[in-house]
Symmetry: D2
Subunit: 345 residues, 4 copies
């Protein structure tokens, strides 16, 4: 099964009730799969008039307590930033899939990771965070989409599945999990079209102290998420003296590079953030306590992930950067060469 298809299956299995989207390559395939699959399972699929329209439909459905999803790519995610900020400010759970493409501007439709900052740091109107999961296989496209719904509901917060065309197009065997049978009860806050549940769901706090209080509350929530929901994958890290850090497509290439390095006697290990927010800062800080020859961040963007890695390292070490852009995916060999060149191995 293709990764994109797996994500949509994951949504259905997670009890997602509706998909609202607007077509943009390379995310159109997600929408297309949803348009085929959702109605078969009695779920709703709507192609909205615009990206802005789609995210506001998500807002509406989330406010009604429904599990709801949208998907897009960089330029479309940009247009959705206002709505995402509204969802975050109104504490509305929803899932957004971003199949990243080459940027900035229109760029091209090749795989990239240039949306890291706009998704992880918050590209919309301020002071909020979204949960960001970064799958690197078709299986994870399914599993992490399901997890995104779970975490979104658990924390009443938007959750992203951040990936790129490589993962989406990847054809792999996928073991479909059991469908979620019991959905969380949201009757204490969601509107349901009934007189007794009628109230406004919004992000307005006119009084300065109220909004400050709300931001502190959000901050506490983000701290709890940071404490409890960090997920990473390590590969051959036990004896590694060089660590390559990367997520999504890059982590697959790093894994190959690790195997290749080991054949040559280079003790390379892979550290892969699965959650980008919460970011595995502590785990990365711990890397600096080991006697490493070097840390290399591999990303398909202009030095965005590496900033967070270095922020986490707190100067104990400085991560190097190997990056490709524009739709180019780094190869295992070029990672290995970079490692050799940088660390003299």
């Amino acid at each position: 099964m293709k990764g994109n298809y797996a994500a949509v299956y994951g949504a259905v299995l997670a009890g997602c009730k509706a998909y609202y989207g607007y077509p943009i390559t390379p995310a159109s395939e997600i929408a297309e799969s949803a348009s085929a699959l959702f109605p078969k399972f009695g779920r709703t699929f709507v192609q909205a008039e615009s990206e802005v329209s789609a995210i506001n439909m998500v807002y509406g459905a989330a406010g009604c307590g429904q599990r709801v999803m949208t998907g897009s790519s960089g330029p479309g995610i940009s247009l959705k930033q206002e709505g995402i900020s509204y969802c975050a400010g109104s504490a509305l759970p929803c899932v957004i899939v971003d199949i990243m493409r080459g940027g900035p501007g229109l760029g091209n439709i090749g795989p990239e990771q240039g949306d890291y900052n706009q998704v992880v740091k918050g590209g919309g109107h301020g002071n909020y965070r979204v949960i960001v999961l970064a799958p690197n296989s078709a299986q994870e496209m399914c599993d992490l989409t399901m997890l995104a719904f779970e975490l979104a509901d658990k924390y009443r917060n938007p959750a992203f599945v951040l990936t790129d065309g490589v993962i989406g197009q990847m054809m792999e065997a996928v073991e479909l999990p059991e469908p979620v049978t019991e959905l969380p009860d949201k009757s204490d806050w969601a509107v349901r079209g009934t007189a007794d549940s009628r109230h406004l769901i919004n992000s307005i706090y006119l009084d300065h102290d109220d909004l400050e209080w709300w931001n502190r509350e959000l901050g506490k929530k983000y701290e709890i998420i940071s404490r409890n929901e960090v997920r990473v994958e390590e590969y051959r890290m036990d004896d590694a003296d060089i660590v390559a850090i990367g997520y999504g497509s890059c982590s697959r290439v790093i894994r190959s590079a690790v195997d290749l390095a080991r054949e040559r006697g280079i003790k390379l290990g892979m550290f892969r953030p699965i959650t980008l927010f919460p970011f595995p800062s502590e785990r990365i800080a711990q890397l600096a306590d080991r006697e490493l020859k070097g840390i290399l961040t591999v990303e398909m963007s202009n030095g965005q992930l590496v900033d967070d890695v270095n922020l986490a390292l707190k100067g104990k070490m400085i991560s190097d950067l190997h990056n490709r852009m524009g739709g180019n995916v780094p190869s295992a060999l070029e990672i290995l060469e970079k490692v050799s060149e940088l660390y003299g191995v």
Copy 2:
């Protein structure tokens, strides 16, 4: 003269030909001033149908080689992120004023700095940077707006004037600079509605290598900007052993706190980034070489600036954070108390 009015005067003096905007409090006053002032000087003011419409009109005018401006606040800037990314990707000079309001979501219309991440880190589709200037007085609203036009043209890049309602509403004497009389020649790239200047201005690079090349070119440009355009203000830093870092409104409060501290024998100094991109990372790194008791970042957001300060400090020191949100502005006294509490002075 009010700060907002000063910014619009700055635009006129800088030879700005057109203002395209959509009303949103507290940025409406900028638009209102522009609607009054621009026509008087033979410039164009258009209230567009939407935030999205306004930024795309900016794209159009910038592509025609005109100095052009728009303004908005957080939620509107979010909607403009796609267009901003397009401008950056197409190397189009333009000036965007963001009068920040309380967030996330609708929040409120009080002063805040919660847009730091969405503006400085790039809230739109990836791999680009915008120049960000942060005035803290009515005079600077004028001067930095003029500078924004100059830098935008110099580097063919969008430039932001990032501020909040406090600065915008501030009534201060403003010395108006001489108007710019010679505008840069853009005839080598801009379209002018003539047959010979007819070509597409866009950000599409279908070939992966081409887009990667373009991103490397952009990267080089950002490095040059980082090297040449950092601007900071220091106040009583010579003998300071505690440094408070802040921009915009916060820097005004910090300055008062410094004076207050000095009266009490506390050697507090102010370090104020005037440019947020380029960020004064080196200058901040040098602070750590001094024997400081502490560094306190003061911001009106949820810990955004402090991340960049700490990234710059590279672990040699860790900046503490004092932040207010929701429209609340920190007072000099509460900064002083925080300083006392944290550093035992």
Copy 3:
């Protein structure tokens, strides 16, 4: 059951698969009923981003061969005129409910019939007609909505249900017809999301002769409709020597006026067009052959219906006009007075 609710029930019974709408008083109640009722019967309800969005969703669903409905009021119908013309030009069956409100412009939300021209004469881009049914009771709201679906499919043409708030709010016993069990086969022209049904459904005929041919074909269709689908209601017409003509709400008042007139020995009869297109021109022309004292057109608009009555009468008689506007509904008594005044009875 309220008339508005009855219309939505009619749609469900007619096998309508989807409702796309945008809220506008007094049509919001139709949308609201649909949002409640449609999902219960496994149908789709979407509140679109705009009136324009809604009618284009209708275009899409109709092109997929689904029975589909939208509803609005005057200002919204205006915005939909482009889409309605596209549906007509592409020969797409669909049903549009117009709950007329006071005009022009925003006017008010009172009952009116001012949309007659924009609906019956074609308010969109040229040369097309839409079928227009005008119910005057809750029962007919149900029955004529069902008929609208039938005629729309029979002639592959948009069909309107044109009414006003009086009929929509009217509480009457409604006998629900049997649901339509067999929907027409549209597989010869509709797209179904399959490779073999993939083709464009549009209204483009680049060649002048082709578009002229298409318009002649449409013209023939409109003639067939005019020949076969005229529906009228007559009340006490056998011996009437004065005829009052009106549709919708007006026809209810006329009926009361007829009864009142008869008590007073005035031989008033009612002639009520149920279909506005096809317009009962021949039947009206025949009225002129009787020895009538007068014909009075009663409408809640500025002399729109009366033009079509007079066009039909071909000068053999000239209909007088009694009209109210702005949300005012004529009373039986004022009709009677007008009759007395005009015809000396």
Copy 4:
């Protein structure tokens, strides 16, 4: 000078301050000319985000007392119907140029007259009329555009210049009139951005009696217009015993047909409505008093003008119809043949 260009020159000479448009063939040329010409004369040209946006900008400028213009073609005019109704309901003078194209739907870009009903009968939300002028030469494109501005202001009502691509593309010598030097004073109702002129300009009349009153007032205005502003052109009508009626492009062809007919001894005359609203009903009624062999309406639409001709004739005669559609323009010869065939001459 081309007809389209002449219309834009007419606007400038009439003191039109702003043009707001959205591109659509074949009206794009009007917008293009305006974009070139308006700025040269210190006027404003804005390409709006959409047709809807453009008409609402017109509403805004008209409300500020400025002479303002927009232009479009059938599908775009459809989208503008809401805004046109708002202008009419708010009694705002403005000028709209409709360069008609083949319909319905997308149709094609050939010349047609299919927008007659949507423009003359009112395609928007009810009970209003717009002044409609129909030029048939480049000179008239200029003159009637100027007249449209004059009548719009005189009656505080939207005025259309209704034409097609044939007239727009026609290259003819145009004598430019003197520019209007004194614009009407609108200070008693227009807003001017000053505190004392601050009031709402809208079309809301919540009270039913108020809206009915307003509609009666509008009705009186339309009657005055009907009495005073009818304009027609007659050609060789003195001794004509057959009359061909047509406007715009058709009237040029009819004129040729008249000359051709006269050569053959057929006494054909031309009757050409220059104003479509007010419609020359009385003048047409008078035709029936002459001993005519026949009246032939020639139109490039599906029998729209002929309805108004027959309504005017009140059954004393019935006009025949010769029509072409889809971009096809009738030839003088085919009109002559039709005349021969119908009237045995």
